[in-house]
Amino acid sequence: MNRPLSSNPTSRDLHRIDVDDSPVDASGVVGSRHGRIDSLELLTGVGKYTDDLTLPRMLHCKILRSPHAHARIVSIDSSAAEGLTGVHAVITGADMPVRYGVIPWTQDEYPLALGKVRYIGDAVAAVAAVSEEVAKAALALIAVKYEVLPAIIDPREALTRKDVLIHEDNKHGNISKQVTLAFGDVDAALAGAELVIESDYEFHGATHGAIEPHCAMGHVDGKGLLTVWSTTQVPHYLLRELGRVLDRPSHSIRVIQPPVGGAFGGKSEPFDLEFCVAKLADLTGRPVKCLYTREEVFFAHRGRHPFSMHYKTGFDREGRIVAVDGKSLLDGGAYSSFGLVTTYYSGQLLGSPYVFPAYRFDSTRVYTNKPCCGPKRGHGSVQPRFAIEVQLDKAATVLGIDPIELRRRNFIGENSQTIGGFHVGSSGFLQCLSEVERASGWRHKRGNLPKGRGLGIAGSTYISGTNYCIYPTELPQSAVQICLDRSGRVRVFVGTSEIGQGSNTVVATLAADELGVELDDVRVLAADSDLTPVDLGAYSSRGTLMAGNACLAATRELAAKLREVIAKTWDCPPGDVGLAHRKAFRHSDLTVWMPIQEAFILAESQLGTLGAVGSYKTPTENVHGDYRGGTIGASPAYSFTAHVAEVEVDEETGEVTVLSIWCAHDCGLALSPTLVEGQIEGSTYMGAAEALMEHHRVLPSGLRSDGQKRETGPGVDGLLAASSLLDYRMPTSMDVPDLIALIVERPDPRGPRGAKEAGEGPLHSSIPAIANAVYDAVGVRIDDLPITPEKVLAALKRKAEVG
């Protein structure tokens, strides 16, 4: 039922939103149970992903890839391909001889290889043709002469071999980045420790496995505007790099990111295909599209870096950490990607949630002739987290302390500082521990489970965005523009990238809540550089905190205007006006209310068109350390997580089954609890898969992908062991454990309404929790991931032999 607003003639003929007469519900949308605003559209197939888009006269692009892990390109003859009917253009490295890379200081990639190829799958040439089939046929006609070079597959070899240089002009041989930082007197602390645990850990590589393959379409219009549609999760960085490589000013490029079918870090930098479609569209005057095959997705990779780690951790008698000394070798693959950041993160993100009185880390990232590694969910910190959490478990065993209790004793506290100088604000870590302890029945189960079953615990922390942008800037990191009008609708223009994580829903939730409308009344237009303000993209779990704060800045400005106008009508102070669920009302007397649409009409008639912008810059005070590298990894706020896993080990076959896994995650405040649970589930499953199954493995010398032996040496090393989803062991719905997602809320003053992050944190501790549970179950430690049946069985055999 509507209340007519007789005083306003301009709005009389508008069809009104139906608002019922029920009592005012002041509770708001934040924290309520709701799904994603875009899920129905996507689930019904109406939403259009990049590959669903076509344009008239569109051409298809295919990319020729290197069959060698390491080779010099002697010559490329594309004349036969160019002569094939239906082929419109062929390009090679010489057509785009500008290096790019997401980190401005380490740009070492060409869109198409120039001079050298550095892994099997490196892009060499691209064809635009009338169909994919013709483009493919043309690829077969391109004659590339290679001079095959010895390849480096083993990262240890990258350190020692001086005769093979993957990037000849790199000042440090095959070392891509080296970081050593030391805080306090580590050696003295270790020397005085009651107990020192010293172990080696191997963290294998894993890839993202997003269901949607990378895809891009380019088009240059009559006025010279280049538009690129892409499955990217960083439209802004893509735009920057397109501008640099193609030598175009930013305003002549438009990047549009349609809905993305999963990314997980695997689409967080530019790829060969985006440059190729842009260049080919420019050359042919036609729209050009390129869609990766699944195998190309495995080549593109940028997945989790394999880490070889050596950790020394000292403890006192009560299980308190006295010092941590960690040395890591990161296998970076062929290029830099985010590697500089990964190398810092490998040490910097470990400083919480436990106090480290003395800490040293020494991390070296090397180049190898393999698909390039980059960021995957929990970038750079999942690997050292595995090591430290197993170290704690080992100490608890030796000292006879319950591993949950040991973690409590080491907790760094709220409003504290890590030894590296990072400011930790809110922290619900202790609540996370208690929650998983309670929910899993830890106290009565632990030690009382039948043979072959065990429980393990681990904790972790993660960032809510990085305080400092990838390129140095004083500009805002996120921005939002909001409009309302007489229809009762709210329009949000935001640069964030919806990649399935729910960023559109997060801004819609905040906008709906602050402006008193329902979620369905909010339209979000995201990630179109012509229409939306700049946001840096979906990475490092920055979206909720940064775009959320930007959104709040804009909505609060608009809400204040609304309140003022309404307060005048009701002759009450603006602070007495509430806005919720399509109603404006008086807090002091809930019987006084008007439909929110009337409030919008009133405000629009008095103030003119209603709009506001909001932007977010990270804090400058009390964030990070005051030394070189002390800013990298620092975040405005940190999330906290704890996992308990219950596993069963089949001692006959070595197979490990995770029966149940409990995850408690402190996300600050859950703006959309269902989405937070979804992220806890997705993260934990992904972690469980990395613990037990997934392995992006590159074969060393002499192995073919079907397992047959073949000759070793130049040109035969570096094949992918699993370049299909049949052999790459992603879990199916039949492999995943029972999962209990527990939300812990510890709002942080720096987050929008206290929100921090949920997208990546809940992955970390799942892996060590499972590893620790395996030990509890059968008494063997598998410090070399993934925990395969082969390794478990071998370890059980060794244990039986030793007695």
Partner: protein
């Protein structure tokens, strides 16, 4: 690597078995490779991974009237060449009489694959990692082949001639797989697959077996190994060692010794030889224990 362009492939769709055999015969005489296709769950995988393909296919899916379904005859159970796993699993008598084959069928790929995949395709594909074919081997099944020259029956024991090779002539079509009457409902049918994941998994090591006990003694032993040799393989030495024994007299070391004569597994991307050998031995031990226990009651 290169997905096949299906439009460049000729697919022949005979409506009767007779027509199919004539097409095969003609192609054979003309020296053209005409490859049968049933559920296509292997054929299309080959195509996707760029294996050399013949330019012609013979689609037997349309022959389901003649080659479909399950038929119980005096000789045994006739599994038609187009009978899918799903069809068999929906037949209670099949599941009751051949529980281990049903278990194997239910673990091939997942539901979608089971709806298309056929027993005959599994046999002809001759993969060492196949699941249903080794169980058929343990059940003494036979392959019925037809051509214009006539019909013949080949025991599975002699059917695989090498890695992904069979004795089928290019002009022959499998019309059925027959499980002999003696095997139907027989005791001691046992199957276990150790795969790379719960479903959609290729078997790393597996055992398909039939172990018959009488008065506490093993009177009949059939062990077929999965992913342990170039083809699904019966273990003659191991079977001889086990035959006539009581459970208590089976020695773990001797068992492994005998096994090593029959099977020399390899390292590959899915597992390694050590693991395969050890787990296979344990599967044999588990099968012995469990089938023994089942007959003791």
């Amino acid at each position: 690597m290169q997905a096949v362009m299906l439009r460049d492939v000729e697919v022949m769709r005979p409506r009767t078995l007779d027509e199919a055999l004539r097409l095969l015969d003609r192609a054979h005489r003309e020296g053209v490779r005409l490859r049968p296709m049933a559920g296509c769950t292997d054929v299309l995988v080959d195509a996707h991974f760029g294996k050399a393909l013949p330019e012609r296919f013979l689609d037997v899916w349309g022959l389901r009237k003649e080659l479909g379904g399950l038929r119980w005859t005096e000789a045994g159970l006739v599994i038609g060449a187009t009978c899918t796993y799903a069809e068999a699993l929906e037949t209670p008598k099949f599941v009751a009489e051949l529980p281990a084959l049903a278990k194997a069928a239910s673990q091939v790929g997942a539901r979608q694959i089971q709806a298309r995949g056929t027993f005959a395709g599994n046999v002809e594909n001759a993969s060492p990692a196949a699941d249903a074919a080794p169980m058929l081997l343990a059940l003494d099944a036979q392959v019925k082949l037809a051509s214009l020259q006539g019909v013949r029956t080949v025991p599975l024991l002699n059917y695989w001639s090498g890695y992904r090779q069979t004795v089928r002539r290019p002009d022959e079509l499998i019309t059925a797989i027959v499980v002999p009457a003696a095997a139907l409902g027989s005791q001691g049918q046992w199957f276990r697959k150790v795969g790379t994941r719960a479903y959609q998994a290729i078997t790393k090591v597996g055992l398909a077996s039939r172990l018959q006990w009488q008065g506490g003694k093993l009177v009949d032993v059939r062990l077929a190994a999965i992913s342990m040799a170039a083809t699904p393989k019966r273990c003659a030495t191991l079977e001889t060692y086990l035959k006539g024994r009581e459970l208590a007299t089976i020695d773990a070391a001797e068992l492994r010794h005998a096994q090593a004569v029959d099977l020399q597994p390899i390292d590959d991307v899915r597992s390694n030889a050590t693991y395969r050998a050890e787990v296979f031995a344990r599967l044999v031990e588990q099968a012995l224990r469990e089938t023994h226990l089942a007959t003791a009651h």
